[in-house]
Symmetry: C2
Subunit: 399 residues, 2 copies
């Protein structure tokens, strides 16, 4: 079993999923695994098995897989033409098995849960992570426990509950629940695979390798990623760092983490050149999937961005909903509002002339719009009513 | 441009999307394209481009693609163990860009719409086909018109409306609307890409080629497919017929089309050895996506099944909902009730000893459960409530 290390103080720790945070710094531990002259297994399809050398896994067990990864890198030619932007692409992670990028992390963490002999896994989530963890636990034959907020709407519970998960609606402080879950896990030998789990983060590296190959063996100049806990972007950065260490690329993309202005603890700290995160007291945004008021990976992410010329951006509610519609109307991609933040941030930066001509940008789309139908503004859509007999006349006006 | 032919009387017709039904037989025309010594382009990823030789397309325009195809063929090892079945697989078409198999057909039909110079496309649908057609029209920069029933719920309209489609809720006879749409299309030069469109059907062939390759260059012994209009199964059969004609396989799978007993016009005709379909007057099933009371491809499908030792099956409501939960709880696949019919039918046939030991069956999963959340029975799920402070005690009982 590989070991962990603290990304802040660099202290090594044994790979023990019962203690996932540095007792000195308080920050999430990351895998200390460093791929040694890794090869891409070009006969395997995209997904984990093709990049096994890069991951702390001895082998990939297809009986634990739901077919995650290998998502398309779509050329956004119509948005590019409309807004006169440099080359633009979307990596559509909403096309993973449960409709979000979380599946990339779940499949690796579930491999570890099996290897370590756990019989129960869990997570805290009101959305994508709940459905993903429950689905992968089901495929592996593990019991799952999902803690959700007391007021979580019915639909969000269904997507986890359908997989046989034990869903518990918890009354009380939600931030305290994060730490309580690890405590419960230690006592009962349950593995809580939360947002900044080190193995989850390793799974996100695979997306970077795929982007590199889909661009013909090159890194993009810019990579825009929605940021909540920080775990996803940390994983994507680690992926490109691996590619550079392996000599496959010579320079990293510029990483741009994006938050909604209504809950932007990491973007705010970045702007103020702070090294730590102040919690947001009253998060308010339609981008629910990234409305994390106290992101556990924030400090680590700030440090990694500083070390690699990365940046953070924040966007407003109107921009987010406009960007969501633009992706659907021009590119046929129906994503959730959290995903749309990256287009909003990109368009702002191109308007300000911050993206050089010819520089290729990749927007990482993190979740499907089918999970957040309630956030769509019906009044912006073209919906009419007619009698069958009036239809020909109504339509003839459209010729 | 390739031509069409009537699958009943074999008469040839010019490839004209303004007349898609044989004026003599009344049945949907199919593409007359026959692949001549086709090759699989093994350097292309799965999806249309890999199988271009098999399709009536000169080239594949990636700017019209949302990354459809290349869906996983998942080994259902846990269901197999639980129910002591022969080898079982799921082809998960819910992992297409808009969450259903319809995307396979939309991408080909939209290629044709562009090639033929149409500026507006349309469809009639209350579900998967609406979202798919609207998304692909958006990507292609075409206007789209979606006719839905007057009482279609809000969420179903959203997934099409978000792509800028003109959604029209039509009061009046829904079956009459099907024919009216073609009439409107002829007058206004709109291309109505409905369920049994010949190019849509060509797109479904690609799924068969993928299954053949994913099984290591072999056809499965059985293929189970949910049946509504008949178009999907007709396309899948044509795909395997192509593979046999090309000498890649020597025998076809046994095709089993599955309907819900509450709306089973084709299964009923098959049982009674009829050659034509009697419409269902009062369709009642939770499998809404396949509740087509008067399937336009029914007669053609019956004939193809008879010619190729295929069969039809019908399953009840309780079986369908049980199968939906079993796929989610044992295999991590959350599909809609229509998709779950195939597992229900398969389990019934294995119980009856109709599937020989060692015979490999593939279940085609056609749509995502995220689109039909309202059909999940909450009472069957494990949902509890607790105070944060009581959580450790509650959980300790679970050890």
């Amino acid at each position: 079993m590989e070991s962990f290390s603290c990304p802040i103080c660099r202290r090594p720790y044994p790979a023990d999923v019962r203690s996932l945070f540095c007792p000195i710094c308080g920050d999430p531990l990351l895998s200390a695994y460093v791929p040694k002259s890794p090869s891409i297994h070009r006969r395997s399809p995209m997904g984990v098995s093709r990049y096994l050398d890069f991951l702390p896994l001895d082998e990939f067990d297809t009986s634990l897989s739901l077919g995650e990864g290998g998502t398309p890198l779509q050329v956004l030619n119509r948005l590019q033409a409309k807004f006169h932007t440099p080359p633009l692409f979307a990596k559509n992670e909403a096309m993973n098995p449960t409709g979000s990028f979380k599946d990339r992390g779940s499949v690796i963490a579930i491999h570890m849960a099996k290897a370590l002999g756990f019989e129960t896994v869990g997570t805290i989530s009101t959305g994508n992570m709940a459905g993903s963890t429950a689905a992968y636990a089901a495929k592996a034959g593990l019991r799952s426990v999902i803690f959700v907020k007391d007021d979580t709407p019915r639909e969000k519970i269904l997507a986890a509950g359908i997989h046989g998960a034990n869903v518990i609606k918890v009354r009380g402080n939600y931030a305290a629940l994060f730490w309580k879950s690890f405590e419960i896990g230690r006592v009962l030998s349950f593995y809580f695979i939360n947002s900044v789990d080190p193995y989850r983060i390793e799974g996100y590296k695979v997306t970077s390798y795929e982007i590199y190959e889909q661009l013909g063996g090159k890194a993009p100049e810019y990579l825009f990623v929605p940021v909540s806990s920080g775990g996803h972007l940390i994983g994507l950065m680690r992926g490109f760092l691996d590619l550079r260490r392996a000599g496959l690329i010579s320079r990293l993309p510029r990483f741009v983490g994006v938050q909604a202005r209504g809950c932007a603890p990491i973007a705010r700290a970045f702007d103020r050149h702070k090294k730590t995160i102040s919690p947001v007291t009253n998060p308010r945004t339609v981008a629910h999937a990234i409305a994390n008021p106290q992101p556990p990976g924030g400090k680590v992410l700030l440090r990694m961005l500083a070390a690699n010329r990365g940046a953070m951006a924040a966007v407003g509610e109107t921009e987010i909903l406009k960007a969501q519609r633009a992706l659907a109307e021009y590119e046929g991609i129906f994503c959730d509002p959290a995903s749309a933040t990256v287009l909003a941030a990109y368009l702002k930066m191109t308007k300000q002339g911050l993206i050089p001509p010819g520089a290729r940008s990749v927007l990482v789309i993190t979740g499907s719009g089918l999970k957040t139908l309630g956030d769509v503004d019906l009044s912006k859509l073209r919906i009419a009513q007619a009698d069958l007999s009036d239809l020909p006349q109504l339509m003839s006006a459209w010729k």
